[in-house]
C-alpha cells in the first residue's frame, strides 16, 4: 500500500487511472449486455389455446383485460397475431415489470411451450401475423440486397451497424446484435412498441430474409476497423480519442519537458 501511495504523484499515474477506468466501464458493460433465445412451434391445438387462456388470465389480464380487449393500462390484443406474442413474450418484454416509456428486454418469464400456448390463445382471438416459416429464417439470403434494404428502412433508428439508438422521451430502438432470426422477423411484421409495421406488402418475406442475412453476416464478420466502440459513431469514438488520445499527448508533453534523472 505504501509503495502505491508513493507512486500516486508519478507523471503516469493519471494515465494509468484513466486506462483502469475505461477498462472497468467497458468490462461491466460487456458483462451486463446478454443474449436472448427462445423458439416456438407453429401449429396450435385446442389444448394449447385452453392452456394459453389460463396463462393469459393469470399473467396478462390485469393490463390487457379479461377479454383481451385492452384497458387503459394496456392495448387490445385482438388481431395482433401469434408473431406479436412470440416476440413480446419470447424476448421477455412482456409481461412488463412496470409501466415505462417502453417495455424492456429481460430474461423470458415463460418457457417455449408456455409462450406457444399464449400465442395460440391470442391468435385465436382474431387473425394476425403468424410465427414466421422456418425457410425465411435461414441466413442464406442476399446480404448485399438486405444491407440496402436495412439502410433504407431500418438504419435511421437501429443504426447503420444495428447498434440501436435513442428516440424521444426515454424510448429507444434496441441493438440488434444477438437477436434471434425469428424475433427480427416478427419485429418487422408486427411493429412492436413504437416501431412501424413492415408488412409483407412493403418488405416481402424474401426481402426480410435478406435483411436477416445481412444482420447475421455483419455480426459474424465483425468490424473491419478493429475495435468498434459500440458502433455508436462520433459519440463513443470522440469520447475515446478525447480521453485516451489527449491523455497520450499530455503524457508525451510531460515526458518531453521533464528533466532526465
Amino acid at each position: 500500500m505504501k509503495a502505491l501511495s508513493q507512486r500516486r504523484r508519478h507523471p503516469l499515474a493519471a494515465v494509468v487511472l484513466l486506462l483502469l477506468g475505461l477498462i472497468v466501464t467497458g468490462g461491466i458493460y460487456a458483462a451486463a449486455s446478454g443474449a436472448n433465445e427462445a423458439q416456438a412451434a407453429t401449429t396450435y391445438t385446442a389444448d394449447d389455446v385452453q392452456q394459453g387462456e389460463k396463462l393469459f388470465i393469470a399473467n396478462c389480464a390485469t393490463c390487457h383485460g379479461m377479454e383481451s380487449t385492452g384497458t387503459e393500462n394496456g392495448p387490445s390484443l385482438v388481431g395482433v397475431g401469434a408473431a406479436s406474442v412470440d416476440f413480446q413474450v419470447g424476448t421477455g418484454r412482456m409481461p412488463m415489470a412496470m409501466q415505462g416509456p417502453q417495455a424492456q428486454q429481460k430474461p423470458a418469464q415463460f418457457n417455449d411451450e408456455q409462450t406457444a400456448q399464449l400465442a395460440a390463445y391470442v391468435a385465436s382471438l382474431g387473425a394476425g401475423p403468424s410465427v414466421p416459416e422456418e425457410q425465411y429464417l435461414e441466413t442464406t439470403g442476399d446480404a448485399a440486397a438486405g444491407g440496402e434494404l436495412f439502410r433504407v428502412n431500418c438504419a435511421m433508428c437501429h443504426n447503420a451497424a444495428g447498434a440501436g439508438g435513442a428516440l424521444t422521451r426515454g424510448k429507444f430502438a434496441p441493438a440488434l446484435e444477438g437477436v434471434s432470426e425469428e424475433h427480427i422477423y416478427e419485429a418487422m411484421v408486427t411493429g412492436p412498441q413504437n416501431m412501424p409495421v413492415f408488412s409483407d406488402a412493403n418488405i416481402s418475406p424474401e426481402e426480410k430474409q435478406d435483411i436477416i442475412t445481412f444482420l447475421k453476416t455483419v455480426e459474424a464478420n465483425g468490424s473491419p476497423g478493429g475495435a468498434e466502440l459500440g458502433s455508436l459513431g462520433p459519440v463513443s469514438e470522440g469520447l475515446f480519442i478525447w480521453t485516451a488520445g489527449l491523455g497520450l499527448i499530455i503524457a508525451f508533453t510531460i515526458w518531453l519537458t521533464s528533466r532526465s534523472s
Binding site: 433508428c157 412493403n202 532526465s260
Partner: protein, 341 residues
C-alpha cells in the same frame, strides 16, 4: 547570447542578479544551481543511455520492416479478418517507425547532449534615429515619383487597381451554375406514382396497413439522369394513421388517402433524413439534431432547432389502386435558404 553559454556545463549554474537594490522591486532570483544528470557522472549510465537510444532507432527500423511485411506478405482473401490484420500491422509498423525515431532523438537529447543552461538577452529596442531615417526614405520615394504633382497618373493607377480583380469574380462565378429554381421543384408531379425505395416498385393503397411506414421515391427515379441529386430532394416517408387522428387544415383535406399521408423526408433544419417514425406517438424524429415533428399536426415542429413543418406531398389513388402524387410539393423541401421568404 549571454556569456554564460560559454562556461563549462557544470559551472554555468548561477547568474548575477541585476542588483538595482531599490526597496520593493522584484529581485532577479537567478537560475537554480545546475544539477548534473546520471549520464554526466556515471560512465555506465552514459553507456546505458546510448544503448537505449540505439534500441529506439532499431525499433523504428523494425517498424518499417513490419510495414512492408504487412504490405507485401499478408494476402487479402474473402474475409474481413485478413484486411483487419493487415490494417493493424500497417498502422503499428508506421507508428513504430515514426515513434522510434522521435522518441529516440528526444531521449538522446535529454540524456546525452549537453544540458547547460543558456540565457539569451532580448534585442535592444530600435532607437529613435532609425525611425527618422525610415520616415525620410518614404518621404523621398513619394517626392521622387511625383505622384502628388501628377494627378492624372494617380487617378488612372487607382482606376486600374480597382478594376483588376474583376476577372477573378467572373472566373469564380463560372465554377458552377447557379441553382436557378432547382431548389423549388422536385420530380413529383401530378400522376407520378409513389414507389418503394430502393426497388422502385409501385405501392398500392391497400398495401399500406395501419402503423406501416414506407420509404418512397418517385417513379422513374432509378432511371433519372442525376439520380442522387433528384433523390436528395424527392424522398418521401409514407405512413398510415387512423384518419380520425389527422387534423388537416383547410385546403389540405384531400391530400391524404384513408389516413395515408406522405411527407418530405428532408429535415427543414439542415437537411438530414427525418425517418425515425414512432407509430404510437406519431412523432417523426430527426437523428441529427432531434427536431421532432408531429404527424397529427401536419408535421409541425414540436421540439428541436427546425423552424418549418415538413412539406406534405398531396397524394391520391389512380384507377389501378396505386398511390400517385397529385402535384409537386407546394413549397421548397429541405432547409431554409436566403432567397426563400
Amino acid at each position: 547570447m549571454g556569456d554564460h553559454s560559454h562556461g563549462s556545463p557544470n559551472t554555468s549554474g548561477t547568474v548575477a542578479t541585476a542588483g538595482q537594490g531599490v526597496e520593493g522591486e522584484f529581485q532577479n532570483p537567478g537560475l537554480p544551481p545546475h544539477r548534473p544528470r546520471l549520464a554526466d557522472t556515471d560512465p555506465r549510465a552514459e553507456k546505458r543511455a546510448e544503448k537505449q537510444v540505439a534500441i529506439l532507432f532499431a525499433i523504428s527500423v523494425i517498424g518499417t520492416l513490419l510495414f512492408f511485411y504487412a504490405y507485401f506478405f499478408i494476402r487479402l482473401d474473402e474475409t474481413i479478418g485478413t484486411l483487419r490484420v493487415q490494417n493493424l500491422f500497417l498502422g503499428l509498423g508506421t507508428a513504430f517507425a515514426m515513434l522510434g525515431i522521435g522518441v529516440g532523438i528526444v531521449h538522446w537529447a535529454k540524456t546525452l547532449m549537453p544540458d547547460h543552461e543558456v540565457i539569451e538577452e532580448r534585442h535592444e529596442i530600435r532607437p529613435e534615429e532609425d525611425r527618422v531615417v525610415a520616415e525620410k526614405m518614404i518621404g523621398d520615394i513619394i517626392e521622387e515619383t511625383g505622384i502628388k504633382r501628377r494627378p492624372l497618373i494617380r487617378n488612372t493607377l487607382l482606376g486600374a487597381v480597382a478594376l483588376a480583380p474583376l476577372p477573378a469574380i467572373a472566373m469564380f462565378r463560372d465554377l458552377g451554375p447557379l441553382p436557378g429554381d432547382a431548389l423549388r421543384h422536385t420530380m413529383w408531379d401530378n400522376g407520378v406514382r409513389l414507389t418503394r425505395d430502393p426497388s422502385g416498385t409501385p405501392i398500392k393503397a391497400s398495401d399500406v396497413t395501419l402503423g406501416s411506414a414506407f420509404h418512397v421515391i418517385p417513379e422513374g427515379l432509378n432511371d433519372a439522369e442525376h439520380k442522387l441529386e433528384e433523390k436528395a430532394k424527392a424522398v418521401v416517408l409514407l405512413m398510415r394513421l387512423d384518419p380520425s387522428e389527422l387534423n388537416p387544415s383547410p385546403g389540405r383535406e384531400d391530400w391524404s388517402v384513408d389516413g395515408i399521408v406522405a411527407y418530405s423526408k428532408i429535415c427543414t433544419h439542415v437537411g438530414c433524413p427525418v425517418a425515425l417514425y414512432e407509430q404510437h406517438t406519431h412523432h417523426l424524429l430527426c437523428p441529427c439534431h432531434q427536431s421532432t415533428f408531429d404527424l397529427t399536426q401536419e408535421c409541425a415542429v414540436i421540439f428541436g432547432p427546425a423552424v418549418r413543418p415538413l412539406p406534405q406531398l398531396p397524394i391520391a389513388v389512380d384507377d389501378e389502386g396505386y398511390l400517385i402524387a397529385t402535384s409537386d410539393f407546394t413549397e421548397p423541401v429541405g432547409p431554409s435558404y436566403w432567397e426563400r421568404g
